[in-house]
Symmetry: C2
DNA sequence: TCTTGAAACTTCATGCTTGAAATAATTGAC
DNA sequence: GTCAATTATTTCAAGCATGAAGTTTCAAGA
């Protein structure tokens, strides 16, 4: 075993390591998120939550239900309603009712929405690449793999 | 070199890997953050931002300036004001003016604040340990190391 | 059919968060 | 010493986010 105080072994081996990891994880994602938010705002007058919704919709040409968006983006239902409302106002997405179930509405990108998204996404990818520049290709793949295994473990 | 389309090599080698990594990173931290928020609320009627502030103050017994908190927690000045206001109302922290500079105020935990923090921190560490349970000790150290190098690269 | 329960959303109150503008105190150049 | 620039903080408007309560619609059994 490694060197650690008895109290830790008794309770949770490696607990400190994982706590430290969590703090680092949080700081890295906050730093990147802040920087991306800033650039989205200044370059495209776009917010991160709206961009996230557009990115999710872009992956599914047939559209997504409100609840799909909520699940996928890990935010509440009420939140999605507000964000989509604003995107509708801006003409970037549309809600259309579905045959056979009048409770649901399918959200899809408009043509304007698709065009704008593609523009922003190109820059966004460059930014992320730049911000994570200190991480090599191989390392990135390795890290992503670890994080993926976490997700699938937890998500079930 | 690895197998990848020409277009990628031409623009940003490994760009897709790093974008994927960023998305995973974001999803993992959101998942954990959501779960921690839920538990803090139900077990201690505490919010995550307030807990973050208390954790920062706990590390510095002599207290921190508002601007220190803002820098450390990576949130805006105005935000810190609001959070600290609420903690003061709850009697968990105090603002005290500093000799020689009447612009600044030093924030410290009260005794009640310290007591409560220690209680919550114990549980919090267990939760994090549980949520990151699928990551081994060695792996955690490795990951934390990578993330640290990123930070110091960016932070300057 | 009717009615009970569940599902998909929306609305609302509350709290978090930012960025810009305002206030107040300090520092430095002259 | 005075004034301009800087620093620390607060205030404010707008947007994001949650969870609970409410509305409408669907589904399925008695």
């Amino acid at each position: 075993m490694h060197d650690m105080p008895l109290s830790q072994i008794a309770s949770y081996a490696g607990s400190k390591e994982r706590l430290r990891l969590w703090i680092r994880l949080l700081r890295v994602s906050r730093t990147i998120e802040n920087e991306l938010r800033l650039r989205l705002k200044s370059e495209f007058d776009m917010t991160l939550p709206r961009f996230d919704v557009m990115a999710a919709l872009n992956r599914k040409p047939d559209g997504l239900l409100m609840s799909d968006l909520s699940r996928f983006l890990l935010v509440s239902n009420g939140n999605v309603t507000v964000i989509v409302d604003r995107l509708v106002t801006d003409g970037l997405v549309v809600r259309s009712s579905r045959e056979g179930d009048r409770r649901t509405s399918i959200v899809t990108l408009t043509d304007a929405g698709m065009t704008l998204f593609r523009q922003i996404a190109t820059e966004h990818e460059k930014w992320v690449n730049e911000l994570l520049g200190s991480i090599g290709d191989e390392e990135a793949r390795h890290l992503a793999g670890m994080l993926k295994s976490f997700r699938s473990n937890w998500e079930t």
